[in-house]
Symmetry: C2
Subunit: 490 residues, 2 copies
Amino acid sequence: MPDPGQREVLMREEASRQVGGAVRLTAAERRLDAHLHWLKKKEMAAAQFPPAMHFFKARALIQRSPIFKLLQKMPKGGVLHIHTSSLVSVDWLVKNVTYRPHCYICITWDNSVRFLFSSRQPFPRWDCLHWQLLGALRAKLGDPSDFDDGLIRNLTLFTEEPDVAYPSQDVVWEKFEKAFMVAAGLIAHAPVLKDYFYKGLEELHNDNIMYLELRSGVSRTYELDGTIHDKVFTLNMFQQVTRQFVRDHPDFLGARIIMAAHRALTLSDITSAVKEAIQMQRDFPDLVVGFDLVGREDGEKNIWYFKDALSLPAQIGVRLPYFFHAGETDDEGTEVDGNILDALLFNTTRIGHGFAMAHHPLAKEIARKNNVVLELCPISNQVLKLVSDLRNHPAAVLMSEGHPLVISSDDPSLFGSTGLSYDFYQAFVGIGGLKANLGTLKELAINSIRYSSLPSHLKESGLLVWQNKWNAFISSYSGQPHHKGTPTLS
Amino acid sequence: MPDPGQREVLMREEASRQVGGAVRLTAAERRLDAHLHWLKKKEMAAAQFPPAMHFFKARALIQRSPIFKLLQKMPKGGVLHIHTSSLVSVDWLVKNVTYRPHCYICITWDNSVRFLFSSRQPFPRWDCLHWQLLGALRAKLGDPSDFDDGLIRNLTLFTEEPDVAYPSQDVVWEKFEKAFMVAAGLIAHAPVLKDYFYKGLEELHNDNIMYLELRSGVSRTYELDGTIHDKVFTLNMFQQVTRQFVRDHPDFLGARIIMAAHRALTLSDITSAVKEAIQMQRDFPDLVVGFDLVGREDGEKNIWYFKDALSLPAQIGVRLPYFFHAGETDDEGTEVDGNILDALLFNTTRIGHGFAMAHHPLAKEIARKNNVVLELCPISNQVLKLVSDLRNHPAAVLMSEGHPLVISSDDPSLFGSTGLSYDFYQAFVGIGGLKANLGTLKELAINSIRYSSLPSHLKESGLLVWQNKWNAFISSYSGQPHHKGTPTLS
């Protein structure tokens, strides 16, 4: 018979390799861990297992999960991969922003909507012939709740029957890009954007997140009279809002921006965007941290296609950190799949998504050697139809190997999620399975500060703040019974 | 800019690690490979991509695929993981076997059926109160085609709407185990079993397979008058049928048996089964090659649960090779998941399924070091609801790393497939993606002989026979145009 002691050693050795496998837990942490393990077993044995279901159907179940409730209270560190246009709950956009005065709406030919704040009747545009004042429209309707629900549907992907509504990646991406266009008219109004940023930070803070790095096109903003502000205005506003927020919430570390350009642009556009990012980084050294290409990865316009633009900083002796989306695909061996290696060749600081990373043994080694963390966004990958049952997410391989990972939410408001707790739930319960433990959660939270763009002294002080929060979180549970018989936590 | 030459080197280095990555192709092979690549790109770009769909919906598409037609003609070596009860097409069972004289049928309380060949009216059994002679029943029906279709549905999992019929793993496994019971009454009739074996070998041979290792419970068989034969009778019959088949088809290498016991049995039953396997291996040294536990893996009765039984051979100084099913699960960190490591601790010769292998970095290393091949059964994993889109099959990771793999079909007749070509299609087009190439196919075919239980001199001669078939296969395409513009192969 194989030696049971030797078997135990091998099982421990394997467990030690996973994300968080080297984390030593305190006695109080071990008690909470045992309780979490027990809760997870229970959820895995239930008739409906949320990570195996589409998030739109699983959300209500997750909200009732005691693990989820615990994750909400857990200090999760920072969120490193999130896009400006879906930072804030759509509910707030509709119930607050669209109720503000001077908000016009128009129905487009393809039955979508556009918004515009204006002090006078807006001119017709190619996509919007007839603008109506939203207040006047709602006054005609009597009860506007159905109408408002319709607006919400325009601003999110959420639907009761996702498999029917989104039969393919193409369909879901089309709706995805459309929703961004709907939101743009609201968010780009300067006074709204200011509130929007603050509200976004507040939602993160409410979910026990203490830091943000935002992928942003840094759109120009407009005033009621049609005045257009440039990107510098937006960056200044973002910086001021962040400073105000940190004054109001001293445990919040701050927020920084990764300048993003859409990969649908031409090579010469991207060249300009890279130059602009270099300039902004110079002008806002504590705010602008690097550059990324966004939008659906495309075989024709892969990272290598933009090589001349992306080589520019090195050529002129400037360091512009890259944070590339790469390998957000389940098609192996394609040009998009190849972005993983190219992102690393361009010395990317982190990799966004990297859904295909597990299929690239050499790229995996290079990433680990160069300390390139992967930003894992489980709900995004599921909603955008890369994987249906999250137990089969390829990051399960990366987690089991201790590959550097952070959890992120990508476009929470579009997916009907908020903060990081939903994505942590999917990573912890679905992707990590029974193996993932409190050490995994701890390492993932620490990673989000360790792999942030904060300068090292701020990382150190940030980690101290986080550790205090973590200790408080653990103590808040340590008085309660965690042993197996009495699952009283909720 | 990253050096394009260096980039090329890294891409090649990564490609060289995959299954078949070290295979050197001849000029003719490279031409065929380029053509396959082109065909694959075309199939990936189509509106419906078969590996992303449920096999029951994809089958008709696959049958029309020129890649599939090519794989049918390709010499695929041996099939190493297939179960007796689903070796032969259900069509043949219904259209041939149930039309034989003396075949009785009964409808069970749960609306399933049982069959029995008998020279007189069978006695009622607990599950079968009323037996009817099938010939007489059909005579009453006029056109029996609907009735026969009903029988086929009882014998397979196939259905037009698999997601509706099988909402969960539990439901599909229940139907799966039921179908085995339906087939048992037909197959266990001694004269039928003899024809069944021959027919099974013929179906494999028609799919250009040259060798078989069968997982078999080696059921006792019965005669019309109720006589029951023991397992030795069955093994003798199998050996005779195989010899006859090899005489009729001299390019067929033969067939061997892995004795299988159902893991639902008790520890003492399994102890007896192990002893029996040892005895049979002694009595049939050219036929019985080892032992396996079959049936759905179960947390309570994991491999370690049977450790006393499985340690028996080593204790008495006998070598009984194991071929364990292990890790046929998507639940990480569970007892079933742990079977992977335990199978290796019991020195398993191969691993059946190993769906969870990619999540076990240490087990992966041990398997490679000990040359333990994994028997990959893509269609089985999909039909039994471990993964829906085969691009997300965790074996994609193993393929990219060159992990030792063979392709197998598990229960082809139950899944509505036949031979190995369907599973090769899924592995080559779906799991391997655009990266998998003709070298991959070649290595997978060679592996099926290299990792068989054949003694080394038979492996060598078998590989020679295979190489000749392969060369003929390549030449049969080399006269045809393979360049990109003219996809004339079909």
